[in-house]
Subunit: 448 residues, 4 copies
């Protein structure tokens, strides 16, 4: 449960400058407008009984009073971590809103993630204006480039100062937002009034307080095409088995929603719910039954599934982002299933598809494209008003300000009684064949 | 504002039969689980202060106790009104859930809307089973056919009785849901225990308490392709003007969201906000400015915009659904703009695009496809539990039961300070050029 | 029949400069390499019997000797007439080949068709280089803009001289190629050694000696989507009739190939083969039969079909390109069919789709994109070698040089025994219902 | 060079039955209509000089006289080898033409390739009619299933006799066509008058005398999407390298055409032209140069490239089709390139994409769909006329009859001076960096 304090957004100081927007006919957000964190009656019953307003988020949107003098501002933008559909839409939305709405004329794009904010960066920051971003949303990826991993915080503070940046927009996931929080905290400690605003980027859709992150719906759509391919291959061969590995390190949202939007998945395997390969309620036996009844099967497996099967638990190698390197569950399943049916002397044809790099780099679809624009517009409004250490959220049909510490306290995951997972069970019928156990809940390291 | 009584869902009687689902591992919804109607703090402040739970919706989902004996049920399905992406997905979802989850073996599809439920129907109802619906979601439209307009209520009651139907699923819009309500009321009056469950179908996305209706995101995506076409034509000619007429009889959601997801729209005109053609803050002058500055322009206009411009207000012709027949604002604008620039002796090239029939009939995209499946699953759960006169809603990240009278009391529309409209102004910059007035709020006829 | 003289390509003079390409490993075309105009044995039997090589085209491709000193050349590019998928691909291909292969550094794009080559042009020519064209192929239309209609020839000659152009690439259709021929002739008369090279642009695919023009396959693919929409609408209503108007002023290639690639068309109506509406072998009666048997129908009609039905023959209005303005056969058919069934008191639902502006402006598909690149490469090779008054052809699996006079002597059309038309009859079965008469063969005005 | 005898098509006997088609208005092909095998003047000069008609193919199309009594025929269909877009279109075209044009009412589909024609087949043949094939073209793959490898010829002959088949349509590649030839020969030897007609299936487009095989254009289009993904990933990382492995065991047509239609490929590697990895004109050095100049690179590699690099030449393992099993050049290149740059201490980010199973199973695009329909129509016409041991060809804008022995004598490959390969060099500029050697020409085993 959240308490009210946790939803409090940090500010650099009192807003002192009038916004140019009301004069042009735009309505500004009243600072009192908020939306509940929880809307399920059971979650708020105690507060109600006590006559106390339950915890709520500040609404995002333009403010009538600004902290920064609008035309005298320098803004920086950085994209971090893996590619995700919509990155260029966000960059473009930031630049156009800064330029056209607030008259900002100095906008710098840091190259290749936080690396471009370090003193030993390989490339200087890239000046951005409406011409530079005119058509970038038609192409996937990020024109700024990206990279994984943190940089020294003081080094980044000094880069921002050297580049005379007033507000920094960080488009990144869980790890990068932790980095943004560390940066914001150090800026405060060093009394440097730079606003740090995060735009949540997670193709896995596992950041808290964002009901659907940008790129996710595009990714689910594209995952469906891969599942179609697996299904056609599976049906085209006698005893065909199609395996599609989908993104999802910690959470099975892409695999689950792709399953729900595509009727061809028979087994949907996600990190949250391990299951056995062997035994009467294991995957092999379930596949045997499916083969004998229908002669083909399609498996959608999230990359984070079954890490326990792959290793003895001693795997501690990490990538530059600090994520534990995952074993390749897709080829593992392919090989083990093949071996199993060979032992049974049942000829099967297994086709394995890993479409990740075909999904991450496509342009955003219409829904995601709009989401990117709106997140970008609100991020600019937030920064101009002096908010800092804040992430843009989308919750209960409203765009919100979420303090970054609150956003990165945990990760969204499927729970056993989560409606999405229940519907996956309902749609695939896999509950009749497999026993799923639930992993212990992820315990995130406390924020420093 | 809603009061609690209005959210109360009608039931045919006490549930008496155990559901087969828990035994297969599915979690059922606790009847006490509800989600708030309003989550904005200002909307619920008075209730909170009074220590009173604000109005809330019942959650949708499987119930452990059923009103109907699951395997001894006959179900009917009817699709009404204009085409919308996803109709076949809903039909398929209903059939698969009835068949596989509850063992229902008698499912009838009424042909061509309510006409197929009348005694003088042209075609008998069509038996449906998993084979009949296997691949129908890959094609747009509805395999049942559709039609507009109501039928005699008693005649429909008698058809249902003759066809021995226990539960009727109505996939339709505002008008059809009113029809469904009339039918449910008459069934009650005549003590016929048939459940009537509505699945909201509105490509315009203007039904209340459904945050995004199925087919809407597909339509917005397709509208974007039409806007691209208009933009390319406009840029390809000296002083090119591209006009795209989009769906939206009463509400400009498609035009607005297509504008937000596509950066090429310069003027977005919607039914809710009339504006003048002539005068210094009228469309013609705005176009002149745009032409002289940028030499091309793209206009997205919702079909319901500017009906006052087209007529002397005496237009009362109605289509079979009882909707006032709209004048054709698209060709009207095309002709008037052409005339205007001819008078000015400025040569312009106008290209007019009406993509409606290219949008309504396409298959649902992944997001909509999932939405259709889930709405269908929940509609079946609701009917089995004995709910009636109820529509499936989607609200605050939950699927809900909305009493049909509450759902059809009004229509969703853009309000002047609606964030979506504000973002349209922000994105197009049209607020700088045009004066928008707000129409008086739509006053819907009270339900009979 | 062609004679050998007609296939002779004009040259500005003897090539004097060595090409830079052989040194970089490219094979050059031997001037003796030619490909037959006709490969059907019956067409060449007489020549064979006489021991005489039948008429043949010069192969396109790089030459080892150039007329122009490669690095000291100025090139001009102009796009004329209606939009067509691939225009930007051709522009880009020209620029990249000129720049990277021959070291040309001065490339000018004339704006808005031949209008941009007149002394009263509204915009100066636009400098082009690899950066300017980097991503233009991802967008439909033409970055240069286009317009219809000719300009004074001497005025254009003088513009070219003023702009110091050595070679002009004209991307345009029949009319524009006639213009290019007139220009080339005048240049010769005035002893101005400028090469004029045409790249055939016809979305209708009706230019001679080009087996498939760029944009055509993209257009057929997109037409299929419109037919799908019509089919879904037709099936979704009782007695539904879907009508799709497709491009094709003089030739029904788009309608025919869209019919062959899409199984849903029941009647394919093209300019070459008029048929009656009334009478026992007319369209109305055929529709009645179809309605009574299948309750829905899809009609694909080319815009040039049935012009005799629309007018008393006195229609002589012409557009800026000099084309006779076509009456709108689509809305005419819609209205007449509606009227017919109203008289019969058979309720039908007619949906009319005109997708033209949604097709012309889309980006080229992969096949067309490659075709554009190759035509552009070969056009540059031809110009560098001093060819003029020449169009790039594609014939018998070879890229060729076609003298423009030969190319514009007639237009490609479907003939009654053309295999494509026979297959349309075979696929739709419409020959069983309709009587088609053949129009007298088009007699094109002789070239001036 | 071909001689006339080789182009002679085998027939089961004299046609004796009148075709029903002329009475319905279809024009039949005159048996004298032929099209040249070679249309390049240099290839036919000797024949011309001798006053001798050069070799030519018989035209495909309906014949006025049939060998089989049309309504008393049983037809069989089999699909063999790997999946390819359009298989279902061909099956559908065969069934519809047999049924609607010739009144054939007994059509059997053999399941899972030649395996379904053996006495120990797992599934009986599947009856096909217009209802069974109504929408199958909207889905990729083959409803009949497929498999690799031959079966005993006599066993297949006996199956055909037991199933009372008069004509067999084999949709398959090089290997399957050899099988069809063997079958046709054995049928002749055993005096069994069954017609064997081949429809060439090769996603690699490497069958002779078919200028573009069905599925190829769809595959090139889809390959472009994979290359886009690789390009976006490569540009999104500092020193990013994207590698896409494309289909093409013996011939690099997919890789080459995908390169020509997509401007992002820097290195296109095909089986026909080996090159070194090491050395001053090897791939590693070329990549180093590219990295230092542009910081990213995209490599398209056909699966058959570089097999010499992978093995010591002793690899003789074969798959069920008898093809030598290829080593995985994609992962090999990925690993070797990674290793190379690690040694140089240059950090690179390599993304490897293998989209094969996402390409083979998609539905055919419009061009391919039409091609499938026409090949199917012509295959039926050929069989009805009593042709056997014949494959449908597409050559010089005509559909032709190609004797299977002539078709399988060799394979189409890129030659060093093939225009397509020259254009690949021209487009990528790779000739400036790499030395390509040509493999010895493939020597196909003579047909038994």
């Amino acid at each position: 449960m959240q308490d009210a304090a946790e939803t409090q957004v940090a500010r650099l100081g009192e807003p002192r400058f009038p916004s140019p927007l009301p004069a042009r006919g735009f309505r500004c957000v009243d600072e009192a407008q908020r939306v509940l964190v929880h809307a399920d009656t059971q979650d708020i019953a105690a507060d109600i009984a006590a006559g106390r307003m339950p915890p709520s988020f500040e609404l995002a949107g333009p403010r009538s009073s600004l902290y920064f003098p609008p035309t005298d501002v320098s803004a920086g933008i950085v994209t971090c971590g893996g590619l995700c559909p919509g990155l260029n839409d966000v960059i473009r939305g930031l630049v156009l809103t800064l330029w056209h709405h607030y008259g900002v004329r100095r906008i710098l794009g840091f190259r290749y993630g936080y690396q471009g904010m370090s003193s030993n960066r390989q490339y200087p920051a890239m000046p951005l204006d409406p011409v530079a971003v005119a058509n970038i949303h038609e192409t996937g990826g990020t024109i700024l480039g990206s990279s994984r991993g943190p940089q020294d915080v003081d080094d980044m503070v000094e880069t921002l100062q050297r580049d005379r940046i007033d507000m920094l927009f960080v488009i990144g996931g869980d790890g990068s937002l932790r980095g943004a929080h560390g940066l914001a905290r150090r800026l405060t400690e060093r009394h440097v009034p730079i606003s740090v605003v995060g735009i949540p980027k997670t193709i896995d859709n596992d950041i808290e307080w964002v009901v659907r992150s940008f790129g996710f719906s595009t990714a689910v759509e594209a995952a469906g095409a891969a599942i179609d391919g697996a299904h056609v291959e599976a049906k085209g061969a006698l005893n065909g088995i199609g395996i599609v590995k989908l993104m999802g390190r910690h959470a099975g949202f892409i695999a689950s929603h792709a399953t729900l939007s595509n009727s061809d998945v028979n087994f949907c395997l996600v990190p949250e719910f391990p299951c056995q390969l062997e035994g009467p309620r294991g995957l092999f036996h379930a596949l045997e039954l499916r083969m004998s009844r229908r002669q083909h099967a399609v498996i959608a497996v999230a990359e984070g599934f079954g890490q326990d099967l792959l290793s003895d638990g001693s795997n501690t190698e990490r990538d530059a982002s600090g994520n534990v390197k995952l074993g390749d569950i897709g080829t593992y399943l392919r090989d083990r299933i093949g071996e199993h049916f060979r032992k049974l002397d049942v000829p099967v044809t297994i086709k394995y598809i890993d479409p990740s790099y075909l999904i991450r780099g496509i342009p955003a679809n219409a829904m995601d494209s709009e989401l990117c624009v709106v997140l970008a517009q609100h991020a600019v409004h937030a920064a101009m008003s002096g908010r800092t250490d804040v992430m843009m959220g989308w919750w209960h049909h409203r765009y919100t300000h979420v303090p970054i510490p609150m956003a990165v306290r945990g990760r969204r995951r499927l729970e056993p009684d989560s409606p999405v997972w229940q519907r996956v069970l309902e749609t695939t019928g896999q509950a009749d064949l497999l026993d799923f156990t639930t992993e212990a809940s992820e315990t995130e390291a406390a924020l420093p």
